[in-house]
């Protein structure tokens, strides 16, 4: 009898390979073309890093980058401060309140960003919040808050209450148990959610487009507006720089997560 060959598996694997090529081709193309020295981005002329030079010496671009980073940081801070307690409450203090709260959360996740953005614009004008940076941070914080709550809740549920009970059994008062056991174990989840919301905020176009005030354009808005006069290499260069920064940030975060994860495992192991 002959060993059967798994043709369908081979076909599926090829399909997956093609999809991955499809997903990564555009990214590769931008990276390559950012080194195109020609005046027209589409037509390759020569290898050059001159557009990088042009991009970083454009004060509007640098300003937009700073605005983006500031807005992302503030919105992350808001999302984490409000989201971590709420996520833990969802996991540990379930009650009548939790199902409606989850419904609200999913409505926020499911509302088209466009609609949310218009609402922000109207409402922030109405209540007289005209500070450009704060407007961006508040606008980004809504979705980010939902993301933080979801991640923290999943982690808190995964941890279970046994560890806190064990700490209580060993004589730790509740807030100590929380500070010494729960919080350190939650750290990877909190970091992951910070990372995710930071990038979501940094990458956001629609909310920023609507709530921005003159002078506080984020980087994506700056890029978007430079499409109109015609594409040049500097846009690709900015985009590749942000890609590099994002990847570096992810690498740092991944390393931090790994370290804290090890610690988490060690603690969990010691208490089991």
């Amino acid at each position: 009898m002959r060993r059967p060959r798994n043709w369908s598996r081979a076909l599926l694997l090829i399909w997956m390979g093609l999809v991955f090529v499809f997903l990564f081709l555009p990214i590769l193309v931008v990276i390559i073309y950012s080194f195109n020295g020609g005046r027209n981005l589409y037509v390759w002329t020569e290898f050059s890093t001159r557009w990088y030079w042009v991009a970083v010496h454009n004060p509007r671009v640098v300003n937009a980058l700073i605005v983006s980073l500031q807005a992302a940081t503030i919105s992350c801070a808001i999302a984490v401060c409000l989201g971590v307690p709420a996520g833990i409450a969802l996991a540990r203090r379930k009650g009548m309140w939790s199902p409606p709260f989850m419904v609200l959360l999913f409505i926020i996740l499911g509302t088209p960003e466009l609609v949310s953005a218009i609402g922000q614009m109207i409402w922030l004008d109405r209540i007289g919040l005209y500070d450009g940076l704060l407007r961006l941070a508040v606008g980004h914080s809504l979705f980010n808050l939902a993301v933080v709550i979801l991640i923290v809740r999943a982690r808190a549920e995964g941890l279970g209450e046994a560890l806190e009970d064990a700490a209580a059994d060993l004589g730790a008062v509740p807030w100590r148990a929380f500070m010494q056991i729960t919080l350190p174990l939650m750290l990877p989840a909190v970091l992951a959610s910070v990372l995710l919301s930071f990038i979501l905020s940094f990458d956001d176009v629609i909310i920023s487009l609507f709530v921005q005030r003159p002078g506080t354009s984020t980087l994506p808005i700056q890029i978007l507006s430079s499409f109109k006069p015609g594409l040049k290499g500097d846009v690709a260069a900015i985009v590749v720089i942000t890609l590099g920064v994002t990847l570096a940030g992810m690498l740092v975060a991944a390393l931090m997560l790994r370290r804290s994860d090890k610690r988490g495992k060690f603690l969990g192991g010691a208490l089991n």
Binding site: L82, R93, W97, L114, W123, L142, L224
Partner: protein
Amino acid sequence: MRIRIPRFSMAIPAMAWWAAFFIAPLGAIIYFSFGIKPSDPGAGVVDLTSLSFSNYIAATSEVYLTVFQITMRTAGLGTLACALVGFPVAYVLARHITTRWQPILLFLLVLPFWISFLLRTFAWRIILAPEGVLSHALQDIGLLSGPLSMLDTNSAVQLGIIYNYLPLMVLPMFVALDKIDPALIRGSMDLGAGPVRTFLSITLPLALPGILGGMVLTFILASGDYVVPAILGGAKGLMIGNLVATQILAAQNLPMGSAMAVILILMICGIVLSMLMLLMAFRWLLRTIAGPAVDARALSVAVAAETRERT
């Protein structure tokens, strides 16, 4: 002594935040959508003295309705394409990849998410450019007679939508497939069902909620998209997002934009509901094609007799 604090106290700040900056703005949109744009530019952005449906009537005029229709079609087709293209990928990831490679491939799958949405969309302008490499290559092998003219049309938008939301569609499908205990598949095969029957009677029914969840998510995001049509669509590839943005940012017609946003939400709700109904119908179809497993009446007689005997 202990002070009783409500169980949700730790969630109060989050609720308050959302109430102040999500629910209130949503209310504001609805309220504004019934107002009119003041004719005098100095009188503020909206005139709310006499509320009416005039914006809704204007927003459902033929011109706008066509764009709404195109938006729904583009988002719907994009969602369907994402599901069809993505399902085999999710299936491979859940079934045929060893646990060593699985996290790496999943990481690669979500990697594009971490790279600017704008960048990814903008890259297609380079790829699809009439004077670009792809265009030349297709002309050289004779598949095209003239330069590639996909940019600034609806098909480019369609492509961009599929490209941007594909990973988002694969993830929930992967989770749904991965959750299915492989022993169930073995069990089905063990009982004599071949791969196709196993897929139709075990895998698909169990994965269906996850597939649908991914489709709903993708559809919502795609139908409210602004970036893809703005970058790839040009004047011919408009979607409702661009129209709303134009109304508000360019024409300064806030009430009209608000009304269009409300209509967008209603349409999405309608389509999501009909997708859920489609799921029910699909389940029913799967069961009907298979036919009932046993003669329910004959079995229930035996069951009833047995139950009586036991009590």
